[in-house]
Amino acid sequence: MPDGEGDTPVTERRGSDERLAEAFRALGDTHGSEVPEDLRERIWLAVSGTLPPEERRELVERTATDPGCAEAWRVASELWRASQASAVGGTAVAAAGLVTRWAPRWLAAAAALLLVTTIGVVSLLNRPPADDFRASSGFVVESLVPADMPLPREAFRLRWTPGPAGSRYQVRVTTEDLKLLATAADLTAPEFAVDPAVLAGLSSGARVFWQVDVSLANGERRTSSTFITRLE
């Protein structure tokens, strides 16, 4: 127990801390700002301990006043912790964990460079889909399969709202545990019939997840939400 504690009972203080933490986190709901890619990368590096200490502190300082940044930090922390538990054989994780405490400066720099390179590649490939809800001139990919209507195996036809003329569609269909059932690319019609054979292993009532990528004629790309359709 730190020196100089007051009279407030520990349990009461803990409850108060939790309420304060909840209120602090809730700021992200109303004041959450955009977190650019480079900032996201730095947050990951800070959480993993790869960024130099003073830069980490600067980022923590930013999270105190930037709810969007604070939210990204929380997501990074959760997944970094999980990666530590999962990555017994993960070389990059092992490097990040070790350099935090034990490695000489040059090794830390090398590991940081490795991670930055990895993250750079991720960023290029991981460009988020454009804002489906505001910036796409009203075009939103929506499922046309009623959410509460199971589809029969022999006619498991997925349909969605058509894009502007010239749109091409890519579909990905998986089971709940992410087993890939089907993919299709370069479709010109906004629909896709899943082969009954690939559904044979699923039980009646199983949930099938699917997502559509739309390539617009002007080169832009839109990714739908993930839709869920049950098997009859």
């Binding site: 203080r13 801390d17 809730a26 700021l27 300082e61 999270t63 105190a64 939210e71 999962s86």
Partner: protein
């Protein structure tokens, strides 16, 4: 390490993402947790497949890469859900469904406390501010000490004193912590 099931363990990643989403999502997002997890995982799969197909077949895809991708994707997906909710709230026809689960008084009170916390943090000594911020973000003293590169005992004291400052500051603003 070769790219394969033994390296890219999607089942474990899925469990971890489910756990993270459960811990991170605000109340209003409870109904959308499954969608959020699934959307995030499908995008992770797309991204890792794209990388595999982009001439980097000989480059290992480590667990840390997978989790780093999941992190970035999850930030996006939470943002997208939030924006969709804002759009729904602007649409009177949809609003009753979207806000049905929220208690307006509780939400307003929480916002007031949140704003108070931000203001109080600004006025705090830097070291205490850093320690308190990580405490409010859910970090343990050990994690906070590691991130800030401080001794554990020093960190514990800073968290304690900083939280005392915060409560006092909020009380001065008429906010009962």
């Amino acid at each position: 390490m070769p790219v394969g099931e033994e390296v890219l363990d999607y089942a474990t990643l899925r469990q971890d993402v489910v756990r993270a989403v459960a811990r991170l999502c605000p109340r209003w997002m409870v109904d959308r947790r499954d969608d959020l997890v699934q959307a995030a995982l499908m995008r992770v799969m797309q991204i890792t497949e794209k990388r595999s197909a982009s001439g980097e077949r000989n480059q290992p895809l480590s667990t840390s890469y997978l989790y780093r991708v999941a992190y970035s994707v999850l930030v996006d997906e939470i943002r997208r859900l939030r924006r969709r909710r804002e759009t729904d709230l602007e649409d009177e026809a949809v609003a009753p469904v979207a806000i049905a689960r929220e208690n307006p008084e509780r939400t307003a009170a929480s916002k007031e406390v949140g704003r108070g916390i931000q203001e109080c943090l600004k006025g705090m000594k830097r070291e205490r501010r850093l320690a308190v911020t990580l405490h409010l973000q859910g970090h343990t003293v050990t994690e906070t000490a590691r991130i800030l590169d401080w001794a554990a005992k020093q960190t514990e004291n800073l968290v304690y004193r900083g939280m005392a400052d915060l409560r006092e500051c909020l009380m001065a603003k008429g906010i009962r912590p």
